[in-house]
């Protein structure tokens, strides 16, 4: 579904992705963790080309991102993205946020988009907030609308860039629950998170990154019990102590 082949990326002289090779299959739920500045956010932002790579190749759903004829907007429609800061459109209600791209990109009728939108709002557990504006919703509610908005495009892949990092503790679970259900339904997901409970329960694979490299790529069982890398052990000891 997603393949990185010898991918390198620099920001100026800063080498942020170093020779990344990675293959993710359909229905996998991959958690990416690592210290800040390790390149994990850049890694997933390359998948829908919000960041461009300097060499190597990324193939998503059989299409090379660096191809001259690649229609990037078409590919982005198949890849949903959820951001740390929700990024809902502030001048539109929750429901309007959800139906915008289906109408403009998928050319759905307004009636159909509205129906799907309402169903999704029910699915993420806030069917009563259809007409609320983002600033009138709590962080957890906003993030659930953002997930519904991404799902409305019926994407093949969902990317989550620290979806719970900006949330108050009591709201984290309501978002993780939605993500857990999504994983159970078989969605292909890449999730940057430090919620190790979620990683343990839900993921099929955990990737640990540091300084632009993938240091660990393991099943959750092995990742938590027998991390190969010294750096991974140190990181786990830091985040699992509290």
């Amino acid at each position: 579904m997603i393949e990185f082949r010898g991918v390198n990326k620099w920001f100026g002289s800063l080498h942020v992705l170093k020779d990344i090779n990675l293959a993710i299959k359909q229905r996998e739920v991959v958690v990416v963790c690592g210290p800040s500045g390790s390149g994990k956010s850049t890694l997933i932002r390359c998948i829908n080309r919000l960041e461009r790579i300097q060499n190597g190749e990324i193939i998503v759903d059989g299409i090379s991102l660096s191809g001259k004829k690649t229609d990037i907007t078409k590919l982005r429609a198949e890849v949903g993205m959820v951001f740390q800061q929700f990024n809902l459109y502030p001048h539109k209600t929750a429901l309007e946020n959800i139906i915008l791209a289906p109408i403009w990109v998928r050319k759905q009728s307004r009636a159909k988009a509205l129906k799907i939108g309402k169903d999704l709002m029910a699915k993420v557990g806030i069917p009563d907030k259809l007409d609320s504006y983002p600033a009138q919703l709590s962080g957890g509610q906003q993030q659930r609308v953002a997930i519904a908005r991404a799902l409305a495009m019926q994407p093949k892949i969902m990317l989550f860039d620290e979806p719970t990092s900006a949330l108050d503790p009591e709201m984290i679970n309501e978002v993780l629950d939605v993500m857990t259900n999504l994983a159970r339904e078989g969605m292909t997901m890449i999730v940057i998170t430090h919620e190790m409970g979620f990683a343990h329960r839900v993921s099929t694979r955990i990737i640990f990154m540091d300084e632009g490299q993938i240091l660990e790529d393991e099943s959750p069982e092995l990742f938590f019990t027998q991390p190969k890398n010294e750096r991974t052990r140190f990181f786990l000891s830091k985040i699992l102590t509290h």
């Binding site: 982005r76 949903g80 800061q85 459109y89 502030p90 990109v105 009138q136």
Partner: protein, 247 residues
């Protein structure tokens, strides 16, 4: 007695409502409103297009917009009026020149000068509005499959326009008042009419007071309308708009 202090001026307000003076004033007002309205619409469109282009990463678009803004805002409006009236028509193709002459070349030169000049100033206002929006809004639009142009049209520009109502109001008032400069190229707008009454009656105070009051009323009306627009389109929950925000 008053003559002793040099106050021999005799007010005669009635000059304002005898014809043809009243007709001149009303026609002047009508021309001012038309000139301002047409110029404003064009200026806003230019401002949105070039203001948005100033924020994109595509270099040629950015460069063109920068040249437009810096070239037109840094030359006085009066010079632009003379340019579009005395200069530009000379280099127009003949059919265009004839069209202008038939349709009132003074008026359309005024529209060109005022709309392009104020468009360059509005572009800066709109640019600042777009740049006040987090870049992640653009990313949210793009990642959902919208093109850059669609993201600007559906998200960035509508949000930016809501943010810039106060400075845009200011700029709109300036545009309205600046239409008075068009009298220098012979547009019979409000100030022109006031001067004409003064020339015929020697009642400068009355004539110019009338013009001043009309401008004042027009500007206050625009301010009120823009205030209403600001409230109507305020983003709920995002910004408290002087309606008794909690302290």
């Amino acid at each position: 007695m008053f003559g002793l202090f040099g106050l021999s001026y005799e007010f005669r307000w009635s000059v304002l409502w005898v014809d043809p003076h009243l007709t001149w004033l009303l026609n002047g007002l009508s021309t001012t409103l038309r000139l301002a309205a047409i110029s404003w619409i064009i200026a806003v469109l230019l401002g949105i297009i070039f203001g948005a282009m100033r924020t994109v990463s595509f270099r040629p678009a950015h460069a063109i917009a920068t040249v437009y803004v810096e070239f037109f805002r840094n030359v006085p409006l009066l010079v632009w009026l003379f340019f579009w009236y005395f200069g530009a028509p000379e280099v127009f193709p003949e059919f265009l020149k004839q069209w202008f002459i038939r349709h009132g070349i003074e008026f359309w030169s005024g529209v060109a000068a005022i709309s392009i000049y104020h468009g360059s100033r509005l572009a800066e206002v709109i640019r600042s509005g777009i740049q006040a929006i987090p870049k992640t809004q653009l990313e949210a639009g793009l990642s959902s499959g919208l093109s850059v142009i669609e993201t600007y049209r559906l998200i960035l520009i509508p949000v930016a326009l809501r943010l810039i109502v106060p400075p845009a109001t200011n700029e709109s008032l300036n545009l309205l008042k600046n239409t008075s400069l068009a009298m220098t190229i012979g547009v019979a707008e409000l100030t022109f009419a006031a001067r004409q009454i003064e020339t015929y009656t020697a009642k400068a105070v009355e004539a110019l007071t009338a013009a001043a009051l009309i401008y004042l009323v027009l500007c206050l009306t625009i301010s009120m309308i823009m205030n209403k627009i600001e409230r109507k389109y305020a983003i709920p929950g995002l910004i408290a708009r002087g309606t008794g925000a909690e302290h």
